[in-house]
Symmetry: C2
Amino acid sequence: MATKYKILFQPHNQEIEVEENTTLIRAAMEAQIHINASCGGEGVCGKCRVIIEQGIVEDGISEQLDKEDIDKGIRLACKIKVKDNLSVRIPIESEIDSKILNADFGQRKTAKIKEEDFELLKEEGKFVNPVEKKYLEISPPRTQDNIPDISRLINHLKIECGETKTEPELSVIKEAPDVLRESDFKATVSMIKPVRDERKTKIVKIQPHNTEAENYGIAIDIGTTTVYLQIIDLNNGNVLSQYGDFNGQISYGEDVISRIVIAEKGGLEKLSQVILATVNRLIKKAVKKANISKDNISAVAIAGNTVMTHLLLEINPRYIRRSPYVPAATILPPFKANQIGIDLKEHTTALIYPGVSSYVGGDIIAGVMGAGMYLSEKLTLFIDIGTNAEIVIGNKEWFACAACSAGPAFEGGGIKFGMRAAKGAIENFSVNPATFEPMILTIGDVKPKGICGSGLITIIAEMFLTGIINGRGKFDKNLNQKRIRENNGIYEYVLAWANQTQINKDITVTEIDIENLIRAKGAIYSGAMTLLNEVGLSVSDLDRIIIAGGFGSFIDLERAMTIGLLPEIDAEKVTFIGNGSLLGAKMTLLNNNIRKEVVKVTKMMTNFELSETASYMDNYTAALFLPHTDINLFPKIKKKMAKNIT
Amino acid sequence: MATKYKILFQPHNQEIEVEENTTLIRAAMEAQIHINASCGGEGVCGKCRVIIEQGIVEDGISEQLDKEDIDKGIRLACKIKVKDNLSVRIPIESEIDSKILNADFGQRKTAKIKEEDFELLKEEGKFVNPVEKKYLEISPPRTQDNIPDISRLINHLKIECGETKTEPELSVIKEAPDVLRESDFKATVSMIKPVRDERKTKIVKIQPHNTEAENYGIAIDIGTTTVYLQIIDLNNGNVLSQYGDFNGQISYGEDVISRIVIAEKGGLEKLSQVILATVNRLIKKAVKKANISKDNISAVAIAGNTVMTHLLLEINPRYIRRSPYVPAATILPPFKANQIGIDLKEHTTALIYPGVSSYVGGDIIAGVMGAGMYLSEKLTLFIDIGTNAEIVIGNKEWFACAACSAGPAFEGGGIKFGMRAAKGAIENFSVNPATFEPMILTIGDVKPKGICGSGLITIIAEMFLTGIINGRGKFDKNLNQKRIRENNGIYEYVLAWANQTQINKDITVTEIDIENLIRAKGAIYSGAMTLLNEVGLSVSDLDRIIIAGGFGSFIDLERAMTIGLLPEIDAEKVTFIGNGSLLGAKMTLLNNNIRKEVVKVTKMMTNFELSETASYMDNYTAALFLPHTDINLFPKIKKKMAKNIT
């Protein structure tokens, strides 16, 4: 038997016992301690920095660590094989903190359904829920009328409620006799409504007396990085509680490809358990906060990208990352929530948002539905900005979509001091055009810890407009400013000196960071332009742009246009809908007819594989410039630059 | 903690440990040792005789035991509270033996579908199975055609097979990607076909390559007393194996009412487990014998009376025995076999035969379907003879039904030496009209052990025709025959002297036995006549009589008419179909359209409650005579009697 060692993680004060030679990052995963790791534990990202406080460690050193780090006891968790009892501290920049997700939830420029759209969801003045509750007053059996209880129930539904095709589940057959007699045959049934009238309405629950007023649903957005959910009152659309957290799977790699790799290596069941654990933890909190009974939760609507959906349902995603990139399924039937591992009662239905392809998933379709694109005649460009950006163009008549990989720059990945939009992240920046001295603002107004994606856009836009960097993202080496310096052969700009930071290191933005951001914005811009070209349209044809995504709701529109992330368009034509995926899930809970429409939308949607579209590479190359090699595409920026130069 | 004692049961050589004061009959149940008990352990039937071979027992004595019994160590198991380690022998007459069920299975006048009926089941020359297997050769995905695997499958089914509304189960979504690639996209799907075209066809299984040839179903008849099943090849209707056994619930009481009482007292889950154990044991044997894989068992069709169906599904039957006698449900949706506890794979569907009321269950409806009554224009009287007799009259246009309680006489209950139709049961009898000496034949040609129901009918018919008993069932005390004697004030006829029997006791038929049989036959005859009267018909209007039931297939038609169990009708108009319930279940597996028809039949069926039909009591009283108070209803018997008298 292998020797075992104890690992104590701080500041969590959590201990776990592992076998000799287990890597420390794997020990942390088992202890459910999250450590940033973008590479899935392959030792290349250098993010999983830990401080060894007690115990002997022989490895964990890497070129990503400098001498100073090593002297402080900092090591990379993925490189350490446990050979002693250890006490390990997770330093502040390696931790991820879900508090920020919940603190901001709802305060951003998010997901407000406009009153008129909300009314659109209603039919005959009320919501059409996928699971409807109906109070029935049934005449009790008599000697001359002693048909079975269930036949009596079905007949009543047929004659009194026009429900001609109902079918009870076994649990209802079992409960009905006692429930009906307990309440003098006055009872409430929950019915799953089919999307097509000719199909069966399933009776999934029977409760004594009138419980129509208590009918709840849960909208869930399962992102690669974060999970958000809301408990919705299905009678009036009110949000009763809402929570967000990081997807527990991020310990297993930050992007979908690394998750697929782990799933293929026998980790499928584990990944499914981990995301379910996240979802179930959030449900528990949200149900408690909303102070409702699980007995009255009728439905969950879940939106996620194609890989997240596969992993949630424990479907092997291996063929998604292999040519010709085929998912197992993108249109899924309704399930029982507890059948797929969600900790709700047996009668609760789970509706999974359908997707289109391996890279255009249910999250995007939910966004399209949530943004009301399928109802509108306006020609709309929908962009969900993130590591994987998805782009949809169309209106109620037609849709075209494409996905492009922007890389993790917007979420702080590949950026020397990049971090997620959490407390201490630099989110705003301006620069004195004479002295080139910065002014920085952080989330939570604390000492800076790093730079978040929206902060980086702002920094680069400002540095570009003030001439600190040029269109190729290179520093003006002639400026006499000590903040602009060469460090190991790479030019950088010091945003904050070590003594003013939380991490006691100079926080800088480097030419490599800028290059990464230009690549990311270039990928998204050129993706949108290629898709527009393919359908024979140009920016001037657009009636509006919808920006979705948690990150999207933070960005400053003018600065996004300045760096050429978004095409130049009137600000009033741009809408931020925040978490479109969550919004779409919510809307499905309030209008069941969306389920009929959504399959139409997925079928209308033409998917373009950008990697196989000839013009994409040209468009991409042309976009690797601030704001673009063809400045005439950005006339306002052109004018502003001309002003700055004079 | 309670003291524990060991009980060794012989001849089974099975030991069990129980707590002090456990009743011995309950110990036997736990040890899965069957002891006859008609009263559910209440100590009134006197059937649960056991011999205490070792250990001290202070109780177990009852007025049902005579001194001789007591001296031999015979006690009633239900009256013994365990207070010592015991060795207990189950005497031959208390044991029930399933061997006889299987030995006879198929050799009786059973369940042969006529060739022409068999062909009627086919549509376009082949069977229409409720779960169809379909071999598909799908074109593999390419870069230009990379829709999800499940969409590809569904499209193929739509375009190549005309299956426009298919929906996969989660297990299929999970398995499809690997199965399809394993077999170069040549695979076989199993589809549950809906009864209505507009509903969804569920894809429940996907297998690599062509497995169309292996598609099996199991027909199951769950009777109050016995369970029979057959494994059917769904491609050609062949029976691959078949087994029968006693319903394990008989240890808990012989009739449905005593089972309901136990279910109400907290025994519902146990009763469900016990019948499932019987079914699962039979399935195991039958699958082994048929040498097939459970992977290829697509469906089970189950027929049982309303109480058996409730208990199987663990539905509380309490309101069935309380006025106004309302079952929870008689029409049940399809279930997954493993969802209801049947030990088959997840993809196997369970179809439960619908019934009409508390007392006209799925077994009768299956019989009506199995006998083809729903297809025929012939006016048919269908009688299922048993403890609970069910009577159906009608043809393809209309149906009327009624149930009457005949009591257990036909199965040996309430008969001093009554037993089931097992080895050693007297099944045939004739009497020398001069000497009144008997000739007896037993099942298995061994020394007699008791009298089975069909034997009793024969004995009484013969004794009546020879004048040993009169029309009221009373012995002619003037006959000088030592076999006719008074015993404790009750007249009886000795069929076999003690030294010629297996039980070392005189086997007799008593006036009380005869009275019980007359009541039983009177109930059935008057039930049929009342039902005929209610629909304005008489015996002469009938085109045929169909006799169903395991017991029914043993009876001698002429003798049944002699005692007035059946109305007098031409013998060629009478058909014995044996186990109609099993036959109906089998037919459902071979023609799915029967499922559509069967619901029509249940809805067409008018149920008469005999207890509330005014004329029933008059008819019943008139029938308490051999063959009937109105001998003119039985002209042939009248003629025969006249001949005998002369």
